[in-house]
């Protein structure tokens, strides 16, 4: 493949061509070819920075290929391919183009060697991805999309502010390790944090992902947050604050996930919880921990996509993703059920599944560096993961009480996409060296020791036992329709109410002040118009004589000045 700077270009060009390609099958094949082509552009390249040029004395590098960006580039390409395969049945041009642009922007951002390029693609992911939500074309989806867009673009704006400050401070826009010591780096950190769904900044995720189209959610789950994890791993490894942020992130979504009825929202909470593990890894910052973060991001993209795919397939057939309306589907959709269970076992980190080999790295790293309470939080969170994602999702969807749906198995392309993903989940779990070989740091780690396996199995079995007991005794929060209040209530309900009171006061003052100011402004504009308007002295056509007069004035003035 010729060097073209950034693989994002392949996606952008394809996004331009796709709308004009007919028939539909040809277009789908073209879509599937895009991630493959994109991958080929950097697959065999030696590490280094490509596509460099000078933009107003700033060094721009479109593609920095090193061990870290390579892994993310690989998994993003893979995720794009799987998402597009899963979406084979979609005939909506908007979604197809948005998926391409979104994945392309995600890749572009991962490979960005400088902050300006990062910013451009950062905003690109925001703008492209919102169309995956709007593509549902309902009023609710529109409002959700708007909220999502405000958060995402807000993140971009804060990032830009940080970049500008950073450039003023250091005179460089290189994207490398930063320290949290100035407003510039804090702003950049905050921008990353919004995209990474830090606690209290997380609501856009649970709000938006369940609102997207079936295929859109699969795509969304892969890129945005993992891009933020990558950015944190690149910019802020070893920042201690991140350990505590991450530990909080692993814990609190567990409870929301347990009571939530919409299974896609359960998965969104679980996604947030998984991000917490990665953020902890970045915060610890040792080679082992960073390896853990990267490996976990890699595995996570796969099994989370698999879970979203299986729930999506169910939704595609039954039209709902609410736990209260589902159940007993194992008879109608046995293959989907198997794939869902594979995903569930991966996310719960059963030995021989992908989650096990990646999460162990982070747990070991936190234990090795003496963060006992963090380690404990992660273990507790792991139990929560098993409970809400590992058991709740398959149990309420495919087992529990029979909701009476008699539907067909998922379409072939969905099964194929899920099958590949499931195979990857198991494959990575059985042969961890495949993944360990491409991690940024050299790995000397064996996940399958007796202690690890036994500890993990005990943990899982007892958690499973607890679930069984709770269900039997009826203590488990039943799958009921409900609206669960999360932090977003404060800014979607409380804040507006408080604001309207303030607004009333401000309005009164404003009207009074504006009446005075407007009067002044009006007379100012009238004055400007009198002088500069078409008939004003400055715009009129003057006779030559007046011009000569001006010459005389200017000449006189300059001469006087010259003689003083």
């Amino acid at each position: 493949m010729p060097e073209i700077g950034t693989p994002a270009l392949v996606y952008m060009v394809a996004a331009l061509i796709v709308p004009f390609v007919r028939p539909a099958t040809l277009r789908q094949i073209l879509l599937l070819a895009v991630p493959v082509l994109g991958l080929l552009t950097f697959w065999q390249l030696p590490y280094g920075t490509y596509g460099t040029f000078n933009l107003m004395n700033m060094h721009v590098g479109l593609m920095r290929l090193d061990a870290l960006s390579y892994v993310f580039g690989l998994i993003f390409s893979l995720a794009a391919f799987l998402a597009l395969l899963y979406a084979w049945h979609v005939r909506d041009t908007v979604q197809q183009v948005a998926t391409l642009l979104y994945a392309g922007a995600g890749l572009g951002a991962v490979f960005a060697a400088d902050l300006v390029t990062l910013f451009v693609f950062w905003e690109g992911t925001a703008i492209a991805s919102v169309f995956l939500i709007w593509a549902r074309r309902t009023e609710g989806a529109y409002a959700t999309g708007m909220r999502y867009l405000i958060m995402q673009v807000g993140s971009g704006v804060i990032l830009l502010a940080g970049i500008v400050l950073f450039y003023r401070e250091t005179g460089s826009i290189a994207f490398s390790r930063m320290d949290l010591e100035s407003p510039a780096t804090w702003a950049i950190f905050l921008a990353f944090g919004i995209k990474c769904a830090f606690p209290l900044l997380h609501n856009w995720l649970q709000d938006a992902y369940p609102a997207a189209t079936i295929t859109g959610t699969v795509t969304l789950s892969a890129f945005t947050t993992k891009l933020a994890v990558y950015a944190l791993a690149r910019g802020f490894p070893g920042t201690e604050l991140l350990i505590y942020i991450g530990a909080t992130m692993t814990l609190f979504p567990v409870f929301f996930a347990a009571v939530e009825n919409n299974l896609r929202r359960v998965l969104a909470y679980s996604l947030n919880n998984q991000l917490g593990f990665m953020v902890v890894g970045v915060g610890i910052g040792t080679p082992l921990a960073l390896n853990g973060t990267v490996a976990h991001a890699f595995c996570h993209i796969l099994y989370k996509a698999l879970l979203f795919m299986s729930v999506g397939a169910v939704m595609y057939r039954t039209g709902t993703s609410k736990a209260s309306e589902l159940g007993g589907l194992y008879k109608s959709m046995p293959l989907t059920m198997i794939f869902c269970v594979v995903g569930a076992m991966s996310i719960s980190a059963f030995p021989l599944f992908s989650g096990f080999i990646s999460k162990s790295l982070i747990l070991s790293a936190s234990a090795d560096t003496g963060h006992f309470f963090v380690w404990l939080a992660l273990v507790v969170a792991s139990v929560g993961v098993l409970e809400h994602s590992g058991i709740k999702i398959p149990y309420f969807t495919f087992f529990a009480h029979d909701a009476g749906h008699r539907v067909k198995e998922a379409p072939f392309h969905m099964l194929l996409a899920m099958g590949i993903t499931a195979a990857l989940c198991i494959g990575l779990g059985v042969f961890p060296s495949l993944l360990y070989g491409i991690l940024p740091y050299a790995v000397d780690y064996t996940p399958y020791t007796v202690t690890h396996v036994v500890t993990q199995l005990q943990l899982l079995l007892f958690a499973g036992l607890a679930f069984a007991v709770l269900i039997r005794t009826g203590l488990y929060p039943a799958e009921i329709r409900s609206v669960n209040l999360d932090f977003d209530w404060t800014y979607r309900r409380l804040l507006p109410a408080a604001l309207s009171g303030v607004a009333y006061l401000v309005q009164g003052t404003w009207r009074f002040a504006s009446r005075i100011v407007m009067g002044r402004v009006d007379s100012l504009i009238a004055g400007v118009y009198r002088a500069h308007g078409p008939q004003g002295p400055l715009a009129r056509t003057w006779p030559t004589g007046s011009m000569v007069l001006w010459i005389a004035v200017l000449l006189g003035m300059t001469l006087v000045l010259a003689y003083i």
Binding site: F53, N54, L55, M56, V528, Y529, A531, H532, G533, P534, G536, L538, A539, T541, W542, P543, T544, S546, M547, V548, W550, I551, V553, L554, L555, M557, T558, L559, L561, A562, Y563, I564
Partner: protein, 502 residues
Amino acid sequence: MLDIIVTNLPALQVVVPLVAAPVCAMLGRGDRSWAFATLVSFLTFAISVSLFVAAYGGEPISYEMGGWAPPIGIEYRIDVLNAFVLMIVSGIAALVMPYARRSVASEIPAERQAFFYTAFLLCLTGLLGVTITGDAFNVFVFLEISSLSTYALVASGAWRNKRALTAAYNYLIMGTVGATFFVIGIGMLYMITGTLNMADLAVRIAEHGDSRTLRMGFVFIFIGIGLKLAMFPLHLWLPNAYSFAPSAVTSFIAATATKVAVYVLLRFMFTVFGFDYAFQASTLENVLLPVAIVAMFAASLVAIFQDDLKRMLAYSSIAQIGYMLLGLAFLTHTGLVATIVHLFNHAVTKGALFMVAGCFVLSAGTSSISSLRGVGRDMPWTTAAFVAGGLSLIGLPLTVGFISKWYLVQASLELGWWPVALLIMGSSLLAVIYVWRVVEAAYLQPAPEGVIRREAPLSMLVPAWILVGLSIWFGIDASLTTTAASRAADTLIGSSQILWQE
């Protein structure tokens, strides 16, 4: 044979269009004269590109006309600065000529077109001559050649609007006053030094030292050129001349004539009077600086209230000239770079915008903004070119306008002149308003019923889009223009003994 051509390139730069002009007049009506003039404009562009390449390295090229050694003979002297300006002038001419065919055909009767192109070539000759020569009196001669032909070109707009005649007449009177002042100034210099060669003048002025005659000479040249470059209160000839001239002429002279005048001012100020007499610096600070700032605001405000697109752009030009003079008034290296880079950037931007205005005149029959309602749907490419050019005029990043403003703001910050930096940005906001008015009319207002406006022909669109493309290209990668401007500023500073502000 090739050798002779290469060694005589500086002479050919002027001689080719000069000789071509009468030939063009004899070619008679129709496309023949146009094709010939176009060919000549391409040829002169090729020559100036090769001169630029030769001068870019740093060593100035000196060419003695007719083998007469200076200071008695006429010397052509080409350094980076005037090679850069030569390239702008001939490049714009080479783009305007293909554009002119359809535009001129609709505005000027066929039997007069040969004379039109003759005048055009003469104007080109004059502008190139002013730029290339190293002889002060020669500057005056070429200035008159270009001015006289410009008066004729402006007057040829009379077939579209009779007011072009009065505009041309006013321009003639005012331009002549300016030229007279200029020649009076040169006469005074000659009184002191007895020479007309610029390099020689510089040496002898230095030997001679300060005197009243010298000061008089400086002031007269300053005012004379100030009129030619439409320095603010002396701009009164410009709006009418630009709005009533044929479209092709407007795009050519708006992009080149004032730029050449700015070049002459730079040349005289630094190369000829290049010694540190306090009155020069005080003229810059007390006359040029306020005048430039007033121009930036007053002319932009007038532009906001104009209804005619060409007239609006003309006032915008006056404001843009304010920016160039401002860069000069800083008297720093960065300021000079800003001025020189803006010469190019404004030529490209304004050339494109006046071409667009010409497209509107061709299709809609008028350039009144109120009659351009809804034109964005009928003429999408033309309107899009206007938007792109307008963005550059505002100074949005990734356009050349931004590069100029960037250097200007940087220059003012280097000196710690914060208020000036704020004024520069404030006046850019005014540009947003007048550009937006056109965009609003073109895209957001419904088209009037029953009006048919066809998209402009390719021969007009392509040159306009080339200029738009250049304004974006050099906005993204400004290394060529800024390096050239920086070297030109270095030669100006190197040739002068003025105390530059740090």
